[in-house]
């Protein structure tokens, strides 16, 4: 899958594109967990360009959130399109994640938070 990532002000920003399904989620998981293993603790996952997400994609984001929580880190999700948002809602996961409307707002939340 196409994916962009950068690190800005100590925050890892990852933006997957296209399908976030059983196949592409495995790639995303490796990319994210490699960064956690490298000691990164603050993440923004920007979902602007994700067409749809299945439970496999949600699983990866939950896994990242759990690992970061265990390391006193933080994950903020940003820019959920309508299809992606509905899947989070169906799963009852919107209250579980920190979610912001834009990447900049997500960055702001990480800058101001603990």
């Amino acid at each position: 899958m196409e994916m962009t990532d950068e690190t800005r002000d100590g925050v890892v920003i990852v933006a997957p594109t296209g399908r976030l399904d059983v196949n592409t989620s495995a790639e995303l998981e490796k990319r994210l967990l490699d960064k956690v293993a490298a000691g990164e603790t603050r993440f923004v996952v920007d979902l602007t360009a994700v067409e749809y997400i299945s439970s496999a994609g949600l699983r990866v984001l939950l896994l990242l959130a759990k690992q970061l929580k265990a390391r006193s880190g933080r994950l903020v999700l940003s820019s959920l399109g309508p299809a992606v948002r509905q899947v989070f809602e169906l799963a009852g996961l919107l209250p579980v994640f920190a979610v912001e409307a834009s990447r900049e707002q997500a960055m702001g939340r990480l800058a101001s938070g603990p």
Partner: protein
């Protein structure tokens, strides 16, 4: 609008990818809007990944999976036929979505999604095959 397509894909994760691409190509050829097709894309991923990872994971040479996509009367029907051991996803209990992030088990959501996203889900065991029929009306 009436269109039908049958795809046969390997019973592997790469087969799941091929099915997703096949469905996308069908939807594009029929001019279906992205906002209309995502529930089918998600349901297909859930069903096929379950079949491959649980139903066929023991098979050294996994048998192929057949997918039929049928658009008719403002409705899409997906029929998925596999030769995994008998498994009726409708027998699976609904997960507890009220749990917090710490207690929430990873996985187990997929079948709940399929039931919520589709108007109708029907299962039948036919000989050595599982046949799952999913239907949902299009909005337009």
């Amino acid at each position: 609008m009436d269109a039908r397509q049958i795809l046969t894909v390997p019973g592997t994760l790469d087969g799941v990818r091929q099915a997703a691409e096949g469905f996308d190509a069908f939807a594009a050829a029929q001019g279906l809007a992205r906002g209309e097709v995502w529930p089918f894309q998600v349901a297909l991923d859930e069903v096929l990944s379950n079949v491959v990872r649980h139903g066929l994971s023991e098979a050294s040479d996994p048998p192929p999976i057949e997918l039929e996509i049928h658009l008719q009367g403002g409705e899409i029907e997906l029929v998925i036929v596999d030769r995994a051991p008998e498994f009726n996803p409708l027998d699976v209990a609904e997960p507890d979505l009220g749990q917090g992030i710490e207690e929430r088990p990873i996985g187990g959501l997929g079948i709940a999604f399929v039931r919520k996203l589709m108007d109708s889900v029907e299962y039948a065991r036919q000989g050595d095959r599982n046949r799952l029929r999913l239907r949902r009306k299009l909005l337009a």
